[in-house]
Symmetry: D2
């Protein structure tokens, strides 16, 4: 399977991503691009896209990019800065790997709207699980 | 109206919070406590609660605490660290104000499960809108 | 040696902490309290304590608290929010452990001035080195 | 004066930057590049460059980039992720503006060593002071 096939499978198995309407656009080693069409259910009490929905969109791009090397990666932390409120249309999140070591890796995710306005920037770090020598099956990538 | 009534109204008007099943437990000046019963829709592809769902839970506590002073507060950034994966049960997020100035305020939110395991810690900052002298109506707290 | 003796030794071996005039007040399992007397060399071009100096103060408390369990801990990330500018006097940083697992731990550090004004809040995460079974000597705690 | 002249003056007036040996390489609207030659005084008790020194280097690039538009910008928060320990040589920090609004702006700073290893990534946000209509002098850019 290609990285993109893996990413598709990974996202399909992610109930919360499905619930939020997140779609894969593209994925490769260390990067990913996903989209979310804004729906009324994504809005907060101010009528703008909820911080939690923006975070979720970025987090899905981050999860796909960080799991693209065939080694399961668990998010350990993330930060997000919101620059412009989003209200409608299709939001895009692009994740790029900044660096990785044996155990850790770091990703930057940028969210833009369909007019290329910069909505938010996200920085995330993962812990990379070491496969054991005894041929342990990775439960997360069946 | 009391702070708790305001908080209830604020949360009821938040579509994304409703969608995620977030309930108010308690609110006061500068603090808030909310809960989320884990449902299958909150899970990621590893079968644990999605980082985006944990963030959303913390974010709702943060929004209520930061909007509790009668001045609209817009989130400008947040960071979250995940310590233990959550899989089921009722998660609780408690937001406490660290400090506020005229324009900015900062909050810490702690997420625990029903066995008091510490799941995640969240730090968020808001920009506080200045009411204008001309008696401008605040559109966000009708 | 007690945790406090270890902490004293750890801080004495830290050239950058010494350069910045950081002193240990107290340390125990998972927590630490350090101080820094503001000097002209700590100031930025606005005449307030430099963000880098505040971060360094918090970082030293974080390093002592996270290395207090006898397992070497390496910082993997940190975030800081600045609430009030500091100009003079003695600044105090208090680090408390939020949670720890086998490999990771998280700490919150609060900086206050001598009038108990809240200057900044810091959140840091460490990766905890696993001692090897072969009796490997820990080079960091001789 | 050009942006680069302003940046030079800004950095010269920054006592903590001087103390840390930070030099300007280049600056323009919304970006900056600075360097720091690692000295024994920058090291921690593990013999690697102290997190506080790395943060300070990134923070100086961030300060120059965010103050490059002629409007004083005060840091409100920052996060840093450390990927590789640095021990010696000349470290470079490059700050780029992600986005800015009337009141807020966000910057990403990347630290590399002289072999182009990626040492750390930093994300910072500033609050931009509004000049008053009465021709108020900006005390920070004499």
């Amino acid at each position: 399977m290609t990285v993109a096939d893996d990413a598709e499978q990974f996202l399909n198995a992610d109930r919360y991503a499905q619930e939020n309407g997140i779609e894969l656009i593209e994925a490769g080693a260390g990067h990913a691009r996903v989209a979310m069409q804004v729906q009324p259910k994504h809005l907060n009490s101010h009528g703008t896209v909820h911080g939690g929905a923006l975070f979720t969109l970025a987090d899905c791009a981050f999860a796909i990019a960080s799991n693209s090397h065939g080694i399961p990666a668990a998010a350990i932390n993330a930060s997000i800065s919101y620059l412009t409120a989003a209200r409608e249309g299709r939001l895009i999140a692009v994740a790029e790997e900044f660096a990785k070591s044996k155990r850790l890796a770091s990703y930057t995710v940028i969210i833009t709207d369909e007019h290329e306005n910069r909505i938010a920037i996200f920085q995330g770090m993962v812990f990379r699980k070491q496969p054991r020598d005894d041929g342990e099956k990775d439960r997360r990538r069946p």
